[in-house]
């Protein structure tokens, strides 16, 4: 394991920004960190980059504890890991000098530096901009230069905070290709934060879901606010304000809390007819999408629910867009946040 995190807490005043009881990230793999705004993705990435010191907890990097109190030791670790921020900032000099910066920091000889910068400019398709003022580039160009600058560090780990948030479609594909290339050909571990479930499905070997600073087991897309009345009735409320009445097994105390429903724990009714202990919702399929080995079905049951169906099971089913279905919710698929 490259990173081993346990009981890690990061606070800002009275608020817990991160509260991770257990998280391991493997070497040489691509991991996606998903979650809504304010979930703690950026703080987690900055902690993994050794830029943010946790308030408490343990973190091992390459099987050794991270020496948070030693700035010299932290600097050594930082030279193995690089972070590309969501809105990367380029120094107010040329594109060339920006990419050269980490090489100059590492005292790389000038001849090697120049060759390496030229290679990186070529990789990110920014050669014509080598002498341009970096702070005058567009958002997408800035992102590509920032990635080239990060790769100049020759890191073991690249951390990317929403790497395609500021880029157009064409360059989104280019950056995704770049992420796959650096992972597959150079074995660099990649951890990226994203809002985009499709992107994580396309790129990541593993997806970690964050909600309010905590790692949750379910996919964050089925996150709702649940209001439970003193009589034990529950209402699920989506982001759009739409709500449905539902029986939520396993919790009866009144109040309002967030829940996550794991898309893997939702079944289209004809797949698992045993509904004795399950909650069943009637709805209509509004979207079908083929992902890695599965089909993601978006079902409107009053709220939009994402259901993951195994690809082979999907072929044998009658699920089609516009078709009426029953969605069955297994109690084990509900996570209280």
């Amino acid at each position: 394991m490259l990173y081993q995190i346990s009981d890690l807490i990061r606070t800002a005043g009275p608020r817990k920004i991160l509260d991770i009881s257990d998280l391991m990230l493997e070497k040489g793999r691509i991991t996606a960190i998903m979650g809504p705004n304010g979930a703690g993705k950026t703080t987690l990435l900055e902690t993994l980059a050794f830029l943010e010191t946790p308030s408490s907890g343990n973190m091992l990097f390459d099987n050794a504890p991270v020496p948070w109190s030693s700035s010299r030791a932290l600097r050594r670790l930082r030279r193995r890991v690089v972070l590309v921020q969501q809105h990367p900032i380029l120094f107010t000099t040329t594109v060339f000098k920006n990419i050269e910066y980490p090489l100059a920091v590492r005292k790389t000889p000038a001849s090697i530096r120049h060759k390496r910068v030229e290679e990186l400019l070529d990789i990110v398709d920014m050669k014509p901009f080598r002498s341009s003022k970096a702070h005058r580039l567009s958002g997408g160009e800035t992102q590509r230069v920032a990635i080239a600058r990060a790769l100049a560090c020759n890191p073991e780990v690249v951390l990317l905070d929403e790497p395609t948030a500021n880029v157009d479609r064409e360059h989104e594909g280019q950056i995704e290709g770049l992420i796959e290339t650096i992972n597959h050909t150079r074995g660099i571990t990649v951890v990226f934060a994203s809002h985009n479930l499709d992107q994580s499905a396309r790129l990541a070997d593993r997806t970690v879901f964050l909600h309010q600073g905590r790692v949750i087991q379910a996919a964050y897309e089925n996150v709702f606010r649940a209001e439970i009345t003193p009589e034990g009735k529950a209402a699920l409320i989506g982001e759009s304000g739409r709500r449905i009445a539902i029986h939520l097994p396993g919790r009866s105390s009144p109040g309002s809390r967030y829940i996550a429903i794991d898309p893997r724990a939702l079944k289209i009714a004809d797949q698992t007819p045993d509904a004795a202990s399950h909650t069943e919702l009637q709805g209509k399929v509004v979207e079908l999408r083929l992902e890695k080995g599965r089909v993601s079905a978006l079902v409107d049951v009053g709220l939009l629910l994402t259901v993951w169906v195994d690809e082979s099971a999907f072929r044998e089913s009658n699920i089609r867009i516009g078709g009426a279905v029953s969605v069955v919710l297994a109690p084990s698929g509900i996570e209280w946040l």
Partner: protein
């Protein structure tokens, strides 16, 4: 009105002829002002960066003290420095009183809080992503400081403009610690004060014109540096 125009005409002649006394006064003023600004910068820039980038107990108090010292009257600095460098003072053995070095010491004390405060303000306003980017790219403390200075150079140059402007025009420290000794510690402002007392307005006006010209030239230089930093 005739008196003023006569004075200006005589002053112009003095400047045009490069009057040796006038030249000596201007050169000394520039020397002590540049040196004290540089010394205050050497101490004040790192101090401003350190205060801006680090959290420590008493930081707010530290900033408040720096802000208060911005309004330090030059005669107070003169008195304070006098206590140290006069014969009875701790540094009395070095015989610094009434030397250009004494003026430099006093002016450096005056400028240190000015440069510290304005550098602190420039660095604190700088986007924190610059710091984080430099760190994640492997920068050590020296490289980090260099990057921070480079990225906040507009504000830092402004601090130097302000500091130089304050020191070239001050009279209290130069008078109290320099003593206005002719040909040795006489600066533009002390000479102007003396000539005014004597009723000799010609040299006074000439010096005033030179002072304005020097300030103007230095400002043009600093603004050129600032302008380039924005491109």
């Amino acid at each position: 009105m005739e008196f003023l125009s006569d004075s200006i005409a005589s002053a112009c002649r003095l400047i045009w002829d490069l009057d040796p006394e006038l030249l000596a006064i201007v050169v000394l003023s520039l020397e002590v002002s540049c040196l004290s600004t540089a010394l205050a910068g050497i101490a004040g820039v790192p101090a401003g960066i350190l205060i801006a980038l680090n959290d420590f107990p008493g930081k707010r108090l530290c900033i408040t003290i720096c802000n208060t010292l911005l309004a330090l009257p030059t005669v107070v600095v003169g008195l304070f420095a006098y206590a140290f460098i006069s014969r009875k003072g701790v540094l009395g053995a070095y015989d610094l009183l009434y030397t250009p070095a004494a003026i430099v010491i006093g002016q450096t004390i005056l400028l240190f809080p000015v440069i510290t405060t304005f550098v602190l303000s420039a660095v604190a306003r700088l986007d924190d992503r610059y710091r984080k980017t430099a760190l994640t790219l492997g920068a050590g403390p020296v490289r980090l400081a260099g990057t921070i200075i480079r990225e906040s150079r507009f504000g830092i140059v402004a601090a130097f403009i302000l500091a130089f402007g304050r020191v070239i025009a001050e009279v209290g420290i130069s008078m109290m610690l320099g003593g206005n000794v002719k040909g040795y510690t006489r600066t533009i402002t002390t000479a102007m004060a003396l000539e005014y007392d004597k009723g000799e307005f010609t040299l006074s006006v000439a010096l005033g014109m030179v002072l304005l010209a020097v300030s103007f030239s230095v400002n043009i230089l600093f603004h050129a540096i600032q302008g380039r930093s924005r491109i």
